[in-house]
């Protein structure tokens, strides 16, 4: 059986069978499913490393096919997403065990990852759009998990904004079909498209990746349980947008420089505005959400520069951000879980009680800020260098200002939560999987930053 096909089938059908599993076995089964997904996605990596691309294709009509392709971009995204999702699932074992509806949580989470895998490997634009909408539904259910009115509102907002973007994108895809008569990604390679189409598709990307002007749903989505937010921010949802950008505008269609320049402007504005908002907010999760928006701006900036290595830099950025942001959210989750509050003014002095969480937070924060020797430094420096080198000096300046703002807001968060006077006393449970997972994520950021040749050579081998 084709590993690509299995990577999609295992989580999607596994999720559908989850309701049949007795509720005590559900968490473990979900972990097993996601572990299998990760291992299968790794299986798909090896042929690509050897220079072969995997295909699976089954035509139904002239415009719709079940066609999947595993190229370097796809297997990289699949491996990173499924790995982080797997860790988040392990973390949930402890975090979600007190909730009666946790069975529902696991169902939607595994389905979410399955839809993400499907989206990543899809080679037919309609198929891709179907998976895209499945992820929207999953995120809607997961954000509104607690079912209070504000949760429902946030979930509706997320769904409606992303749906709005997606429908514009669909319009763009239809124009592509009308122009070239195909929805197959492979057949569209290097085809020029008019700016209107590019902007329509971009609307979908911006809504999914929560970039300005469609960013406001992501901070609101912080009402969800922490594993969900971590999943949205680090592993699946927001990365879909940048994946789509890479797939569409970097690898498939040929777009005009004017479009790319407006993307650069948009991403830089996003970096600065979101970083500024993170400096103002007082809710841990909202701060981290704005941080995600800002960091995705860097990824989008890297992709928009569209020079030789920008896609590779963006991929390393995605890896760095996934590891570090998942770590930050899960640290925040431990704090919230133990103290019962997300307001930084009600927290303080937790360092002596949560030393491991604090250490993991710091390492992940330094990675996001871009301070060596953590992994986050490499892509951030490369983005700044590429921006300046390609003549977008102002973009480079603002990117650095954004990095400085990142330093300020992440350290502000650390100081408010872990230093100063103790307000709510709560200590971490050293043997909990929650603490282990954040330590693994922090250690991964550190190890890959020190051994920087590994991620760079990995993307070089994947993307020819």
């Amino acid at each position: 059986m084709n590993p690509v096909f299995m990577t999609i089938l295992v989580p999607v059908f596994g999720a559908l069978f989850l309701p049949l599993v007795p509720s005590r076995q559900k968490p473990a089964s979900s972990v097993a499913l996601l572990a299998a997904t990760f291992l299968l996605s790794l299986l798909a990596v090896f042929p690509v490393l050897k220079g072969r691309e995997l295909f699976f294709m089954q035509y139904f009509t002239d415009w719709f096919s079940l066609s999947f392709v595993a190229d370097g971009l796809a297997v990289f995204m699949a491996a990173v997403s499924s790995f982080v999702a797997f860790l988040i699932c392990v973390y949930s074992l402890d975090y979600m065990q007190h909730y009666a509806e946790s069975g529902e949580f696991y169902f939607w989470m595994v389905l979410f990852v399955g839809a993400m895998m499907g989206l990543i490997f899809s080679a037919n634009l309609i198929l891709l759009f179907c998976f895209w909408e499945v992820t929207s539904v999953c995120s809607w259910k997961l954000i509104g998990f607690y079912r209070k009115e504000k949760d429902a509102k946030a979930a509706d907002k997320a769904f409606l904004v992303t749906f709005f973007g997606a429908s514009l994108m669909l319009a763009g895809l239809i124009i592509v079909y009308l122009t070239y008569g195909t929805f197959e990604v492979g057949a569209l390679r290097n085809m020029p498209v008019v700016d209107l189409v590019a902007f329509l598709v971009l609307a979908g990307i911006l809504s999914k990746s929560a970039q300005l002007p469609l960013q406001s749903w992501l901070p609101d989505a912080g009402v969800a349980p922490t594993p969900v937010t971590a999943l949205l921010h680090a592993a699946v949802l927001v990365k879909i947008g940048v994946y789509m950008f890479a797939r569409f505008f970097c690898l498939t269609l040929a777009v005009s420089p004017a479009f790319l320049n407006s993307c650069i402007a948009l991403s830089v504005i996003t970096i600065v505005v979101a970083a500024a908002s993170a400096l103002v907010e007082n809710n841990i999760k909202r701060i981290l959400a704005y941080s995600t928006i800002s960091q995705l701006g860097y990824i989008l900036l890297a992709l928009s520069l569209n020079t030789g290595i920008s896609l590779k830099v963006a991929l390393v950025y995605i890896l760095a951000h996934s590891l570090a942001k998942a770590g930050l959210f899960l640290c925040a989750g431990i704090v919230e879980h133990k103290t019962g509050t997300k307001d930084i003014h009600e927290l303080g002095g937790l360092l002596p009680y949560m030393p491991y969480t604090a250490a993991a937070y710091l390492l992940c924060a330094f990675s996001i800020i871009g301070i060596p020797p953590l992994l986050g430094f490499w892509p951030k420096f490369m983005v700044v260098m590429l921006a300046v080198k390609s003549g977008h000096i102002l973009a480079g300046v603002l990117a650095v200002a954004g990095a400085l703002a990142t330093l300020l807001y992440l350290m502000r968060l650390f100081n408010k939560v872990f230093l100063g006077q103790v307000r709510i006393k709560a200590s971490e449970d050293k043997n909990s999987p929650m603490v282990w997972v954040v330590l693994v994520l922090a250690a991964a950021s550190l190890a890959l930053g020190l051994g920087f040749k590994v991620p760079f050579h990995f993307v070089m081998a994947l993307i020819k």
Binding site: K157, L160, V161, F164, L212, P213, L214, Q215, S216, W217, I269, V272, V273, A274, A275, A276, S277, L279, V280, G308, I309, K312, V313, F366, I371, P372, P373, F377, W378, F381, M382, V384, M385, A387, V388, K389, G391, I393, G396, V397, V400, A403, L404, A405, L407, L408, M411, N415, L419, L450, F452, K453, F456, H457, V459, M460
Partner: protein, 630 residues
């Protein structure tokens, strides 16, 4: 290169992790071993420089490693300081049982080594930035607030450097660090790159305006940390970068030189003035650590070969005596449990080795011959004079004159400040609450002091040797000195003078000086007849005009830490409200518009048959109209 890099960087990094899991005694011993190996390897590199190593990281981007004449001499001293501080820390109560301290120390040396071995910008920035992280880690051992401030202030410098390097790569078209001035500072981009890189070097070295983290760190950091970071390693690295910027990366024009001269002069003067009024031992030393950077920057501002050589030589000398001074402070603090000058005194009798070392360091930093501080300052004065003679235009000449006056006057004030230091700590009376006799510092704390003091003397007496070994190979040509100074002769004369003075003193002692009881008309004295060091220059703040200068110097708003926070916070609020929240409201409006539209449609579907009939009729009418129009 690969194997050397292994011993200088990879091995310490890996063993740093191992250290975390060892018992305290094993941890200390292993650290000493790692540092010893690194010192030996760096000495080997100094004698026999290895081949360059180039590693591909991403497509056409490579990182390359290699040493030049400047970096390999600094490499030796970085590892020497690492070794000495490690030796000292073995007996230091403040750090010896800390679990993480020795790992940070080892990593710090590892990344400093990597920064010095870098021969292209990418790996340089990587190693350089990593030292910031370790600065933060080492400072937070004792106080998180000072660590924060250092992180932000030096972080500003590091991010500036990152941008400056990106601009430089744009200008030069390569990521390799050039040898020998490549880019003119005349274009706007050249200026931007130059200034941004300067900020990086200044933040690290602690030059105005990015110096403010050092006094804050001094309030709480342990003496070992102060001795290794602001006193020695940060100076070595910061001035190394400054030297590369001024000599290798850019060709400076007269405006750039004048800028450096002015920054140097201002730094010398303001920091030494602040030092005069300090009452805390470590804070006093920290202001001198800033003041002395001014001399180095000034040296590069002279634009003359002599000045540049003086700047580098001063960097070396400063790291020797300033780390020595901080270690002295640590030894004193460990014995007396305080760093307040008012509560110290009279320690010379109990701690003779510490006292003599401190005296040597103090005389060195004050530029008293025949110690090393004089040797480098002498070069700096000459460099400034050469610059003055070569300068064209009244303005530039004035700047050179200002620099010369600042350098000389600053030196005098430094001497004044260190007379206070020596008096308050080692002479006079013991003012501490606990007057028990204290013993000399343990031997492993004394050895670093003696080594550093010995080097201060050797480099002072034989400055030519240091220049020939360390500095001239990099500059590549002999120094066109304008003054003559025979250090050996003058040293002999000074020794003779001291000997004569001693003989007179011995002679006078026997002549029977009358000592009497104090009498104030029969009253009991209400004050103790002592004159503590803290009383020195107490009134300097009240002198007319000078007090205004002090008022400005003490302003908090001049602190870039405060400034950047205020700036970012105001900008953040504006962006948050006028962009983010505005867009949020707009998104909400779209929602309301949809709801409004659905309200209209709901009205049309009330379930009343008449309404549907009416709509059907309207529809029919429309169809009829469309069909009839054809």
């Amino acid at each position: 290169m690969a194997y050397i890099l292994f011993f200088l960087t990879s091995l310490p990094v890996i063993l740093g992790f191992v250290l975390l899991f060892l018992r305290p005694q094993a941890r200390r011993s292993l650290t000493l071993l790692i540092m010893g190996i690194a010192l030996a390897v760096s000495a080997f590199i100094f004698i026999k420089p290895p081949q360059d190593l180039v590693v591909r990281i991403l497509d056409e981007y490579t990182v390359s490693l290699g040493v030049n004449h400047l970096s390999r001499f600094i490499l030796v001293f970085v590892n020497l300081f690492g070794f000495l501080i490690c030796l000292y820390s073995q007996d230091s109560d403040e750090v010896k049982d800390r679990k993480d301290y020795f790992s940070y120390l080892v990593w710090l040396i590892a990344f400093s080594n990597l920064a010095l071995c870098a021969s292209d910008f990418i790996i340089f920035i990587f190693a350089w930035g990593a030292t910031l992280l370790l600065l933060y880690a080492l400072l937070t051992i004792s106080s998180s607030s000072s660590g924060n401030k250092a992180l932000v202030v030096v972080g500003i410098g590091d991010f500036s450097l990152m941008l400056g390097v990106a601009l430089y790569i744009l200008l030069a078209g390569t990521t390799r660090m050039p040898q020998g001035g490549a880019i003119l500072v005349d274009t706007p981009l050249g200026w931007a790159s130059f200034i941004l890189m300067l900020l990086g070097a200044f933040a690290k070295a602690g030059c105005a305006p990015l110096h403010t983290w050092i006094p804050t760190a001094a309030e709480s950091a342990t003496s070992e940390v102060m001795a290794i970071l602001p006193a020695s390693l940060d100076k070595l690295l910061g001035i190394y970068l400054l030297a590369r910027i001024c000599v290798d990366f850019f060709i400076l024009n007269s405006v750039a030189l004048a800028l450096l001269l002015l920054i140097g002069s201002v730094t010398i003067m303001f920091a030494v003035m602040m030092a005069l009024i300090q009452h805390d031992l470590r804070k006093l030393l920290s202001y001198h650590a800033i003041s002395q950077v001014g001399y180095m920057v000034l040296g590069f501002g002279t634009g003359s070969l002599v000045g540049i050589a003086g700047g580098i030589f001063h960097m070396l000398n400063h790291s020797l005596y300033k780390s020595g001074l901080f270690l002295t402070a640590g030894a004193v603090g460990q014995k007396k449990n305080t760093f307040e000058l008012a509560r110290l005194g009279g320690l010379a009798a109990y701690m003779p080795v510490t006292f003599v070392s401190a005296l040597v360091f103090s005389l060195s930093i004050s530029g008293v011959p025949p110690f090393n501080g004089f040797a480098s300052k002498w070069l700096l004065y000459q460099g400034t004079l050469i610059g003055f003679y070569n300068a064209s235009g009244f303005m530039l000449r004035t700047v050179y004159l200002i620099a010369l006056v600042a350098a000389m006057f600053g030196s005098a004030l430094t001497l004044a400040s260190f007379i206070k230091f020596i008096h308050a700590v080692f002479l006079g009376q013991d003012n501490s609450s606990d007057k028990a006799k204290v013993a000399e510092a343990p031997v492993r704390m004394r050895i670093p002091l003696m080594v550093l003091a010995g080097l201060c003397v050797v480099l002072g007496v034989l400055p030519g040797l240091a220049l020939k070994l360390f500095i001239l190979p990099w500059l590549g040509q002999p120094l066109p000195l304008i003054g003559t100074w025979s250090s050996l002769t003058s040293c002999a004369l000074i020794l003779l003078g001291v000997l004569l003075g001693f003989l007179f003193w011995r002679n006078a002692q026997g002549s029977g000086v009358r000592v009497d009881e104090m009498s104030i008309g029969g009253e009991e004295p209400v004050f103790s007849p002592s004159f503590p060091g803290t009383e020195f220059y107490r009134t300097v703040e009240e002198v007319p005009f000078v007090h205004r200068i002090y008022r400005v110097l003490k302003l908090d708003s001049l602190d870039p830490y405060r400034f950047i926070w205020s700036l970012f916070r105001v900008a953040a609020y504006l962006l948050f409200i006028f962009v983010d929240r505005a867009l949020n409201v707009l998104t909400g409006f779209v929602g309301y518009a949809v709801l409004g539209l659905s309200w209209v449609f709901r009205r049309l579907h009330t379930g009343v048959l008449d309404l549907y009939l009416a709509w059907s009729l309207v529809g029919l009418a429309v169809i009829w109209f469309v069909l009839m129009r054809r």
